[in-house]
Structure formats: C-alpha cells, structure tokens
Symmetry: C2
C-alpha cells in the first residue's frame, strides 16, 4: 500500500480535468501531476491554454494548485491539494523566438518536450524517417531552458536529437513518458543507447502505461511491474518514475488533433495503428487515477522494497523536479 | 534636494532603455519607473515585447529588477537598482480573451491602460469624437484586473469611459500621466469631473511633463510646479504623483508607430499637431532622468514642505502600487 506520507507523482497526463477527475487523483493518493498544456499550439494558442488553466486553478483552488518549484509540490501535499505542473509536449509555443523560453517559464510551463511527433525548428521526432539531430536553434533553446530552470523532455523526440540534447544539456533532462524499446519495441519507446545516456546525464525516465507503448489493454499488472523492475535494473533505483500518459475523458476530436494537428489532412495513427485507430482501452488495473496504489502494490508483490517503490512512485520525480525547477527561475 | 532615503517613482516613461539611460535614472535619484511595454500590440506581439524586457533584465541585472509587488520597489532601492514596473498603454494584448488578464498579470504587466488613442473592445479614447463608455467586455476586464491586482490606467481614456471605469472598479485606479485640463486644455488632459471621481475613488494622478500636455519646451519649472501645487489643492496631497511620459532616445519610426499603429495610412499627430509634428523638445529643466531633483527643488521653492514633496515625488505611488499590486496576484 502507498503510505499516507508518500509522494506520488505522475510525470505526464493528458486527461480532461474537472473536479471529478481531481477527486479520482486524490483517491489514488496522487500528490502531483505534470499536465499537458499543448501539443501543436503556437505562442498565441498556448496563451489561451494557459488562460484556461488559470481559470481552472481559480475556480478549483480548494482542490488544485499550480507548481512552479519543487517546494510547491510539498505545499500542495500539506494543503491536501493536487499539485499541477504545466508543460507542453512541443516547442511550437516558442515559434522562432529564443526569448519566449523565459516568458513561458514565467507562466509556469516548467517542462517542454523538444519535439512532438514531427520535425520542428528544434530537432526531430521518433516518427520521422530521418533525424539529423538538434538544430542550431535547438542548442540555444536547451541552453536557455537550462538557465531558467525549465525541464527538457525527450519522450517523443527522435534518437539522434535525444542523444544530441543530452550531450548539450548542462542539467539533467527527463523522459517523462516512455519505456525501454528492448522490452516493448515501438518507435515511441527508447533505445538502450538513449537510456544509457540519460542515466549518465542524471535524468529520470517515467515508465508509461499508455496501452500502445506496452502490450495493450491485456498487459497485466505483473507484466507492467516486471517492466518497471527491469528498467530499474538498467537505470538504477533513483532514475525511474511514472509517466502514465493517462488520457481520461478525451474526445475523438481531441484524438485527431493530438495525432494530426493541422500538419496533415490524412489520418495519422500516432502510437496507434490502422487496426487500432481509437483511443486505446486501458488495462483493468489502471482505469482511472484512483488505481495508482495497484502499481505500488504490484511492485512490492514482485519483491521491491517499500523504500524503492516510494522512489518509483514519486520520490525520484520530487527530487528531480526540485533540483530542476530553479527557485529563482521566474526571471 | 531629494533626500538619499526618498522614494522617487515615475509612473510612465516611454524611453529607450539601455545602461546609459539607467545610469541617468540613478543620477536623478529615481527608485522605480513604470515603463511602457506596448501601445498597439496584440497578444503575440506583447509576448515579444516582454521577451525583450526579460533579456534586458537578465543582461543588466546588476542595474535593474522587475517589480511585481510593492515590496519589490523597496528591494530595488535597497539593492541600488532601478525597479521597473511593466505596463501596456492599451488592452490590445488581451484581444477578446478575458483569461489573458491573469496571464499578462503573471508576466508582470501590472498596469494596463484601458484604451490607447482609439476606441477598442473595452471602451473609448480621449481622441474619439464620441465615447459611449465602457463596453460589456470592458466591465469584465476591470473586474478581472481588480481580482488579480493589475492597475487600471485611464490616462488616454475618453471622458465617459473613464467615469464608467471608476464607477465599476472596486479598487482605486490610476491616471499615470495626464494633467488637469482646466490648467492645460488638451484632449489628453483630464476634466474636473474625471479628477473629482478619481479623488473619490482613492486613485492617484501622475502629473505629466510631456511638452504637448503643458506649454511646450518653454514651460518653466515654476509654471510646472505651480501646476502640481494647484493639482494637489484639488486632489489632496496623497493623490498626486509624477508621470513624466519621458521619451528619450526614441526614433521617428517609433513616433509614427506610437501615433499611427497600423490603424491609419495617413499622418496622425496624437498629442502633437501639424505645426509641431516631431518628437517634442523638452524644457531645459527636464532633459534627462537626472533632472528629477529639479522638480523636488521647484516644489520646495514654491513653499511645499519636504514631506509633501516626498509624497508627490514617489511616496504616493509607492503606497498606491503596494496596495494595488496584490502580493498573491500572480495566480
């Protein structure tokens, strides 16, 4: 069981937030969630998304609070609220403007994935045929993210761009939601080479329950926890966390926006496939955020110590985010 | 003389900021300036302006610091830096989106003039022939500014919109840079009715040295200080400050942008005229920010007490901004 005083952090969720969803997070013992605040949005559109989150925070300030620095995660827990870290799964909000890194950091976009599913001004994605690595602009973006305390996320980023980004970054980076590709071979999962580089960089990998990145809805809890333990064996106990990629209450319209943005007029299946084109069905042991304790129990049933399970459930992300988000970063 | 421990606040400057300009402010004993960060800019363009300011703050952090709350003004003084309050002379950055009030507040846009020189989504300007007052959206914008601790500025705003805004605002508002129109009759200066409403609202008026709003470059220091004293007689000693509207080192291109934006293809003279179309020449006693002590001395020479002069030079704005910018406003 997750202890009352434990920290549980989910390093990526794409769910539709309402009060009922927040109550499910509380039932699941969740302390803090990194919530996706943008996929393909440009600067102006990202302002709108942030404005919508401001409204959500204001109207639900008895239940949630925005996290700007590590200490806010603990403040949220003490206040009995869910801490929300905003991030974008793309650098599209920056357009071609380096100064917007600090502007969006000031707005609390504390995590930015360098690319979503396509090549962009910064680098290339895991779905492009070729990946020529980090661009000139991309290097400067990472330096600026390092300076202001915004986390570099490589989850959907291509192999070469990921390796380049880890080499350029002077601070630990994150892969908030992906799995080792030697366990579940998909384009979205990560090679041993990238994960070795992440390990040496001091970064953290969030293992992902998104059905298309494991064995679909039939993935058992034992299988998922076995994957976590194998990942810990590779990365070390301090560098693995959770990033479920949970997508609760999301519409088909949103699915199409998520996959196709406005860059294609034809169907693109993202992590799905022609045979499996819809929102995936989730395994029985992870239907809603109230099911987080199942993962902790699964780890312990496979012999992981309570202390180690607590690191995976949230302790590692707490340390990583506390060090990564500079306290004076909002400048 | 301005005492070493005195607070000097200029409630509006449009100057081009560089290190030399900051040194002139320091020589003039200035503590804090409300700097114009936008005239006609939309949301995206305002992000660019804020990004440029971020860069200026970062590259000159030995000399300047951004002010988010009243206590920052005192911190700046203690650190020997110039405090900079960012504001926009328009609500154009909000476009039609109420949530952007809190977004720009979080970015430190702590003062927003409801309209610049033209009618907009919020209300009307002092240069429009007719002013039907505050719009439906305008009322909501003021309520939201009240909520987050952003100051409503009425300097260029039309008569009816100003009266409506003061009636709607639950918090004191500002006229950061204008003079009584019964002393200097121009469209930009303010009627007794508006200033009486401002007085009753608890707001502050920043008297303005912009040559077109007084008697041009030949305005004497005695005349300017006499105007301040008459204004104090009307408003009370606690509700008058400075808002020089100083425009140092600004280009003709910027003058045209300031006056014509992209709303006209023909010359518009703003506060100037066909006979006087350029940047105005400033009086000999106020050529640069190092000349602020001249104003304090002028007030004292006309019999104002040192204590009262200190209120006009900055004490009143310090109190007003400290109360107006909520400490927890960045939410």
């Amino acid at each position: 069981m997750i202890q009352q005083n434990e920290i549980v952090i989910d390093a990526l969720e794409l769910s539709s937030w309402d009060r009922e969803f927040v109550h499910l997070l509380k039932k699941g013992g969740v302390t803090c969630v990194h919530a996706c605040c943008g996929l393909w949005e440009n600067a102006r559109e990202t302002l709108r998304k942030i404005g919508e989150w401001h409204r959500f925070f204001h109207e639900n300030d008895d239940l949630v609070m925005q996290v700007f620095q590590g200490s806010d995660i603990l403040k949220a827990k003490q206040a009995g609220k869910i801490g929300v870290i905003l991030g974008t799964q793309n650098t599209s909000s920056l357009e071609d403007e380096l100064s917007l890194v600090s502007v969006f950091n000031q707005l609390g976009i504390k995590v930015m994935q360098l690319t979503y599913n396509n090549q962009n001004l910064v680098g290339s994605s895991c779905y492009e045929e070729k990946d020529s690595g980090l661009s000139r602009f991309g290097k400067l973006v990472i330096q600026e993210m390092n300076r202001v305390g915004m986390i570099v996320d490589l989850s959907h980023v291509g192999e070469q761009t990921s390796l380049d980004a880890i080499a350029v970054s002077e601070r630990p980076v994150a892969i908030t939601h992906a799995n080792p590709s030697w366990i579940y071979p998909t384009k979205r999962n990560k090679s041993a080479e990238v994960l070795q580089a992440l390990k040496e960089n001091g970064g953290v990998l969030g293992v992902c329950a998104y059905p298309h990145l494991v064995n679909g809805k039939n993935t058992t809890l034992e299988e998922f926890c076995s994957m976590i333990i194998q990942t810990v064996d590779f990365m070390g106990i301090d560098q693995v966390g959770l990033g479920t990629d949970l997508t609760l209450n999301m519409s088909t319209d949103f699915l199409h926006w998520m996959r196709m943005g406005r860059w294609t007029h034809d169907m693109d299946y993202g992590a799905g496939s022609k045979e499996n084109p819809s929102w995936p069905e989730w395994p029985s042991w992870f239907q809603t955020p109230k099911d987080f304790p199942n993962i902790a129990e699964g780890l312990i049933q496979q012999g992981m110590s309570g202390e180690d399970a607590a690191k995976v459930m949230g302790g590692n992300w707490l340390r990583f985010f506390t060090e990564g988000f500079k306290e004076d970063g909002q400048k």
